[in-house]
Amino acid sequence: MTETITYRDAMRAAIREALQKEPRAFLMVEDVGRYGGCYAVSKGLLDEFGPERIRDTPLSEAGFVGAGIGAALGGMRPIVEVMTVNFSMLCLDQILNTAATIRHMSGGQFSVPIVIRMATGAGRQLAAQHSHSLENWYAHIPGIRVVAPATVEDARGMLWSALQDPDPVLIFEHVMLYNMTGELGAGAGPVDIDRAVLRRPGRDVSLITYGGSLWKAMTAAQELAAAGIEAEIVDLRSLRPLDDATIMASVARTRRAVIVDEGWRTGSLAAEIATRIMEQCFWSLDAPIGRVCTAEVPIPYARHLEEAALPQVPAIVAAVRSVVGR
């Protein structure tokens, strides 16, 4: 038995389950309760769990993310949301200088079991202060885990796994996925957050991606299949740590790789993955590694400009054809 469910509803079901099963868990951010969440993920949860556990905060990102870190140190299991990754610059101090460092800095005495959820990515014409993909910045930081659920199954399952982790876990939810529907098995529950998975088998090229770009890569793979090119799609799922084993196994089979990443090209996650492939798979490669990233521009408002800035299916198809040579 499966049910058709939106990514948003899958995430809400995950939060509900977490609050039901873990009495120390609570959710906080501005507008999470009475408003229902800026992407309506937490709609209805205030009535079910009350204002202590669905906690509306003032617009104080450093304050409430830092308070979440303190609450985690004090024995709670906070789920803290940040409306969008651009706003998380206001609490980067707390994430980098406290959450990620305190375990090491204290000589292993203190752990911070916090989960921080953020919306990321472009596509809704929200312009240059609400649309960036900065998850790669977080993936740079030792001491935290960074995951990106791209499917309803992962939206449903990653939160509980993240809550079980003794260290900070950041969950990046692409804004274009909230309305997406998918099939969820009746027994769907926690998923592994350590490993990448193959979303499509293919012999000719590895298309490595994550989050909102996964579905563009899947569409591109269908077009390529019509041209006789079979792309294998690797969904990274975990951005830190990267699952090198799954990536390298795929590249070793296909001997070619294209990375699709909604971050800016310079210093991107795609750059990191390309380097790792060079370090670990150089002698298996039959062609230079391709990258499809966001243009080096703050995300524009006008639809045609926003579309032009982002990785799109035709660019992915072109990059693959270039690498494959046909």
Binding site: R24, F26, E52, T57, P58, S60, A62, G63, F64, V65, G66, A67, G68, I69, G70, A71, A72, L73, G74, G75, M76, P78, D93, Q94, N97, T98, I102, R103, H104, M105, S106, G107, G108, Q109, F110, S111, P142, G143, D165, P166, D167
Partner: protein
């Protein structure tokens, strides 16, 4: 016991001797740290608390073992006054394996789970949200614990200060905010960094009960802290102490002190909290001459042992370099 009785300091000979000893432990420890710095046994930044000892010692008197402490990079005094072993604190100054943070933190990042001492935060203002969260956990879990959060007046200019004050007051959390107002944020005087130099009024603007304390007077500081902590523990929400004090030494070991007059420093040294207590207590008969001598000897002996411990402690193995980045996951 009434609230007033609970909050009143009983100035017995034993208690006064204890206050005197705790302050002297910090003073002698830090004087020695400055020496060890010139010998290059201690490196990095070293921020001395000398002159401000009455605040840490006075406030700690009001705390229970289950309470939590959040401090700053100028936290040797708070660590010692909270009861972290002097030898392990000194080993941390050296960066040795037996340091309370295994040498990963150093002078600015002293941590101790046993005494709920959460650092040692070297981002000015960064510890305040943490204290709010610790108190939030206590409140949500129904524990009658208090979190004491120490910070300097420089932190008052940070957004994190205002966000934390608002959250603590809004949610009525059991936090004692202790502002150690030593008049200079590194080298920047309060008057050239704040439009409102009366810090007490900032607390009032968050509807938080606030007291101005003579931070050079340990009895006054302890009294104020006990009253505040008692009110917090009884569910009164957060409280604020502005402790007026002065840093006798440079900001760190790299500070030529161009920003303040020598005469100003000398004038404040006349108010030394340790000498102040000694003179007053000897006059009042609550401290005897032999107490002064025996305390000095005890502290010297403890300090010598701490230095020997730090000298002989091994360095952390490089093989453990990455071991404390993540917490080992429990096997399912």
């Amino acid at each position: 016991m009434t609230k007033d009785q609970a909050a009143k300091v009983h100035l017995t000979r034993a208690h006064v001797r204890g206050l005197y000893k705790e302050m002297l432990r910090i003073r002698r420890f830090e004087e020695k740290c400055a020496e060890l710095y010139t010998q290059e046994k201690i490196r990095g930044f070293l921020h001395l608390y000398i002159g401000e000892e009455a605040i840490a010692v006075g406030v700690m008197q009001a705390l229970q073992p289950a309470d939590a402490v959040v401090a700053t990079y100028r936290e040797h005094g708070h660590a010692l006054a909270r009861g972290i072993d002097m030898s392990r604190t000194m080993a941390e100054m050296y960066g040795k394996q037996d340091g309370c943070s295994r040498g990963h933190g150093g002078s600015m990042h002293i941590f101790d789970a046993a005494t709920r001492f959460y650092g040692g935060n070297a981002i000015v203002g960064g510890g305040l949200p943490l204290a709010v969260g610790l108190a939030l956990a206590d409140k949500m879990l129904g524990r009658s614990q208090v979190t004491a959060c120490f910070f300097g007046e420089g932190a008052v200019a940070e957004g994190e200060f205002h966000e934390s004050m608002n959250l603590a007051a809004l949610w009525q959390l059991p936090v004692l905010f202790v502002c150690e107002n030593n008049l200079y944020a590194m080298g920047t005087a309060l008057a050239i960094s704040e439009s409102e130099t009366d810090i007490n009024r900032k607390a009032e603007s968050y509807r938080m009960p606030s007291t101005i304390v003579d931070g050079m007077d340990i009895v006054a500081t302890e009294n104020a802290a006990r009253r505040a902590v008692e009110a917090i523990r009884q569910g009164g929400g957060p409280a604020f102490l502005e402790c007026r004090t002065y840093r006798f030494r440079a900001h760190s070991m790299f500070d030529a002190q161009l920003y303040r007059a020598k005469a100003e420093v000398e004038a404040w040294k006349e108010k030394c909290p340790i000498e102040h207590l000694r003179k007053w207590a000897l006059d009042a008969g609550s401290l005897h001459a032999e107490d002064v001598d025996s305390v000095e000897a005890e502290v010297a002996s403890e300090l010598a042992a701490a230095i020997a411990f730090a000298d002989s402690s091994p360095w952390e193995s490089v093989a453990r370099l990455l071991d404390d980045v993540h917490t080992p996951r429990q096997q399912p």
